[in-house]
Symmetry: C2
Amino acid sequence: MKFCSHCGHGVSLRIPEGDNLPRFICDHCGTIHYQNPNIVTGCLPVYEDKILLCKRAIEPRHGYWTLPAGFMENQETLEQAAMRESAEEAYANVEIEQLYTVFSLPHVNQVYIMFRARLLDENFKPGIESLEVKLFSEDEIPWDDLAFRTIHYTLKYFFEDRKKDQYTMRSHRVEPAPK
Amino acid sequence: MKFCSHCGHGVSLRIPEGDNLPRFICDHCGTIHYQNPNIVTGCLPVYEDKILLCKRAIEPRHGYWTLPAGFMENQETLEQAAMRESAEEAYANVEIEQLYTVFSLPHVNQVYIMFRARLLDENFKPGIESLEVKLFSEDEIPWDDLAFRTIHYTLKYFFEDRKKDQYTMRSHRVEPAPK
């Protein structure tokens, strides 16, 4: 950030009075521009004993598999955002069942919020951001070709919990993937 | 938003290619400026049979009671943010126990994420954003003078769950308060 989005003059990075962190402040109109983490939300769509995954047609992680998920938009709820992402990425009709995983990723200023969901029918197909969408049973999951650690954790917890038939919400920090 | 924070030229609101929502786009450098919901996080600090509340010294809702909570910052986890807010607003030393309530507030583009926490000692005092901080037993809670509906719900669920000695995570939409 170099310029004030309100008046177009230059900004400088300094600590506002009464605050304790540096913020971008407009040198002309005084507007303080806060920068905060973004929410990525999506779901784990279950159909019979299978899970719907999407092969990414976009960067980052082009060609890797993921659960339908993306940035939450203004003016929607988490559940609406998770359903919208499922529709956009996989034309998937899902029913949201349970808030299931909540991950903090401070290295990229993101919070992931994933739901368990029921996939309502087989009328799915790739959306513009997917190369392919497909149902996978547990032993078919492409563990080495998953796009993100958050997706790996969500799938791992799901299969653990399914064996016990008891689904427990998980919340923890996720570190960057080793290079 | 009127000006590009990257180059200082004017922006216009239009739908980028491949997108389906209007965004502020720079007419000069083409940068797309996304606007997304913010996370408010905090906790419900429990000490023996009492809850720590803070009387707000700032707008909105100056003079009303709240749980320690505020905007999550970049480069921190949810749990760190909830602890930081408790320290800032009430000098409270808390141990985070459970992710407890998750609320979508699409009318203000916020997601509230509140934890149950253990208040570790009685060395609390008002921070700069609080007029007063105080422990309340269930029958002392100032229900009519709570600052926000999200706080009301979190306290209500806590007292319901405490009677059963079983704390269940809640997630739902919260509508604007009636005028």
